[in-house]
Symmetry: C2
DNA sequence: ATAATAATGCAACATTGTTGCATTATTATA
DNA sequence: TATAATAATGCAACAATGTTGCATTATTAT
């Protein structure tokens, strides 16, 4: 926790620790609303600034779901920063409970597009999750 | 154009026609800001309502890009409504010009997740587009 | 041409995210 | 461990984005 912040060369503060704690005890990705609920009392501006920093430092990654709110989830250990994520997982959005899961897949599909240089591929699946079936 | 609106059983109005015209002459997906620029003078509320309706009716689909604004693009002919899209294309986001392309792929990857019922798969690639290379 | 119905446009509001700045906390150094 | 340098926090104010209610106007079915 503190080790993570130290490795990213950013200051260790109570607020940042509590944000990390929230994500650590959670298996699914969180919306900002959910984070706010977990926090109890807090300053909205500090929250936004913290989330922005965590995204820039590769601590959290953002998942944009069409027709829903943005979700955030912890990055893998080896994400250097915002533009160098290294995850081989896909994002699953449940239409019933609307939870978003980060799920590992063995074989991550290769996408080849003539004329385009593909740097990263993000896969989102929609359907019914394990708990809702 | 008018045929499309008629087939969706919604009224044919000047505003809706002009929105469809903007999308027809465009090859890439559009942000709301870009639509507004194309429109010239317009009512913001009517625009939001029109876009919402078009999404519900399966005329437009929404592309949510992490760290960027939502984009909209025309659906394929056979999209019935919001929850029944039938496209075999992927969305490509250029890191240089930040355009979003809808690109067809021959082989659309199958995603299997134990315990999860996958209904739809959305693939987003990031990199450098044809024009920017 | 007319009645029924839906779309538009305005005002007002709600939500989401940002900037500047004074205060407070963290960190590096002596 | 005390102090200076520096970064984070929290407040106010603002900016951007999206929504609701309602009167007016346009479209459609007859």
């Amino acid at each position: 926790m503190e080790k993570l912040l130290r490795s990213k060369k950013i200051r260790i503060t109570d607020f940042r620790i509590s944000i990390l704690n929230i994500f650590n005890k959670q298996s699914t990705a969180l919306s900002i609303e959910e984070i706010e609920t977990e926090l109890g009392q807090f300053d909205r501006i500090t929250l936004y600034r913290t989330l922005k920093l965590f995204k820039e430092k590769g601590i959290l990654h953002e998942i944009a779901i069409a027709g829903s709110n943005v979700r955030l989830a912890l990055c893998e250990q080896n994400c250097e920063d915002l533009h160098h994520h290294h995850h081989n997982h896909i994002h699953f959005h449940c239409v019933l409970c609307s939870e978003v899961y980060c799920l590992d897949v063995e074989t991550y599909p290769e996408i080849g597009l003539a004329g385009f240089e593909v740097q990263q591929v993000e896969i989102q699946a929609t359907g019914i999750c394990k708990s809702c079936r």
